[in-house]
Amino acid sequence: MALLEVNNLDVRFALRQGEVHALRDISFSLERGERLGIVGESGAGKSVAAFSLLNLISKPGFIAGGTVNFDGQVLNHMSERGLRKVRGNRISMIFQDPMMTLNPVLSIGEQMVECLKAHRRISSKEARAIALDKLQQVQIPSPETRLDQYPHELSGGMRQRIIIAIALLLDPDIIIADEPTTALDVTIQAEIMALLLDLCEQHNVGLILITHDLGVVSQVTQRMLVMYAGRVIEQGPTREIINDPQHPYTQGLINALPQMATPGEKLNQIRGSMPSLSNLPSGCAFHPRCDFINRADGQPRPACTQQVPEFVESGNCRVACHMVAEMLEDRRLKEETS
């Protein structure tokens, strides 16, 4: 059994206007030391997915169904007390904005020592030694000085290194990184990503990387999920998805990368924008923006607007698309007849 197994996770938000389905039927697994990317536009539910793994969705959100199995425990059925032993200790998390994630009134050392002491019975001195060791691992210049400094005295890149050090503090099994480099300078982004990858490989830590940067996903992860409007629409080995995307949305995302455009021309984009979760289009949520809604004969495919697509297996990937399903079906029929 995999280290982390998410089965049919369903998250809703009880709002005044009614229930909003933020995540539907999310399933994936993560082996020890494996790196998984979660990709999608803003609002696709990536961050909600990350928080729901640790059962940390704040009200009015709640997990309405499904399970998160971690190392033989079902996290979303666990007591708050049991969960605290997992959070930070076995699964830790890195947030987007290093300016906001560190408490402005506590020194770096205090924050690190506190995290260690919350999970282990050790003296402050020992905790400080561990903190120092982790700061050295993230290659921060003059780590001893940093321990007594406050977040405002450090640059964004340094803060993100410190946040990575805090995430590694208790030697977790999994790190969830929610857009860890989005708020950073481009030159530092690469450095931080390389550092994170390096440390994960060294310590055999699993990584769930949430991002909208397909470039980073293709470099760092082994498998990936593509999310759209609270659903996974395509999942499988990263290389296969990047090289041969099946779902029209994934194709659109890859096409929209700046390096895919012809020099001098406008960048490619997916027309329209992500629908609101409280008012999803019928059938496939992507159909109003889809270029492949018409069949070969020029008529729109009725299933696209009427029926929510099921996953079909295509090679090593799973894709939720009527068009892909139809193509595969045609191919199968042809093979049978010949």
Binding site: K59, G88, A118
Partner: protein, 318 residues
């Protein structure tokens, strides 16, 4: 400027003193004559009040030292003054200078005590209401609303009457300081609770709180160690206002005879005890403690104004 004392662009890792010296607060203090003067006056008064057994020429609590024959003597600049009593004496023949010193001590004690109690209650409840939200928030804040709908005076009258009725008035005067701290503390905690709750609501959506939750810290720990220090500036500012308010409340209660007994007078009960003699010409018994009260409260309030300007808490409401 939303900067506080640690906004200095410290180089390597400066010591505590360097942090203070480089801070905006110290910079502003050095340039603000009013703040300097007020702090000086306030510190002098606090020292004089708490050193009153050493400074005061007589002990006004010691009945043996009181001579009823030397009552209502005027202060030194008026004819008929006695050399032994620089500021004159009150109706019972107590040295006014001594008793004002002792009275200031009582007033300050009650002021600080009540504010500490208010802060303990108000900060805890405000933190819980803001951070935990939901039902806890509703219950605590409705409680605060109910508390605020009683005036301090009403609470004092009810509590005072209850205690006097059940324990006897001797018990009440013996523990009058405690009673007043309790009454003023209980009556005014919602001020803190509301201010703290408002800042906690702003703080709790910041990512460092999420990060602390992800680290697996307990709610209690996150509330007190992570959120509370970030809401300190409005708490400081409101504290100065509340100390001044508590001193005034105490004076008002004592003036109405609900506070300190005549034998252990505060500034308020001194003003009251002299009030009966204003008509007979002994105005100093009331006016001198009155002036001390005004100077004390004014200096605290002006310091509070300065502090508010420096810290600029967004949620301050006087």
């Amino acid at each position: 400027m939303s900067t506080t004392s640690n906004s200095s662009q410290a180089s390597a890792s400066p010591g505590r003193w360097e942090r203070v010296r480089d801070s905006y607060m110290w910079y502003s203090f050095k340039r603000d004559r009013t703040a300097q003067l007020c702090l000086a006056v306030f510190i002098c008064m606090v020292i004089a009040a708490f050193a009153s057994p050493l400074i005061a020429p007589t002990n006004p609590y010691d009945l043996a030292q009181i001579d009823i024959m030397s009552s209502e003597l005027p202060p030194f600049w008026i004819d008929g003054a006695d050399d032994r009593y620089a500021l004159g004496t009150d109706a019972q023949g107590r040295d006014l200078w001594s008793i004002v010193l002792y009275g200031t001590r009582v007033s300050l004690l009650i002021g600080f005590g009540a504010v500490i109690l208010q802060a303990l209650l108000g900060v805890t409840f405000g933190l819980m209401a803001g951070y935990l939200g939901g039902r806890v928030d509703t219950i605590l804040m409705r409680l605060a609303d109910i508390q605020l709908s009683f005036s301090t005076l009403m609470v004092a009258i009810v509590v005072g009457a209850l205690v006097k009725a059940t324990m006897g008035s001797a018990f009440y005067s013996q523990y009058a300081v405690m009673m007043l701290i309790l009454i003023i503390g209980l009556a005014e905690w919602p001020q803190y609770a509301r201010t703290v709750r408002a800042s906690v609501l702003a703080e709790k959506n910041k990512e460092y709180v999420d990060a602390a939750r992800v680290m697996g810290l307990r709610s209690k720990r996150i509330m007190f160690r992570h959120v509370l220090p970030n809401t300190m500036s409005p708490i400081f500012v409101i504290s100065t206002v509340q100390i001044a308010n508590a001193i005034i409340s105490e004076a008002a209660l004592s003036f109405l005879g609900l506070g300190m007994p005549e034998t252990h007078p505060s500034l308020g009960s001194l003003i009251k005890s002299g009030f009966d003699y204003i008509q007979s010409g002994s105005w100093w018994i009331t006016l001198i403690p009155g002036a001390v009260l005004v100077v004390l409260v004014l200096s605290i309030n002006l310091l509070g104004d300065w502090l508010r300007d420096v810290m600029n808490p967004r949620l301050y409401k006087g």
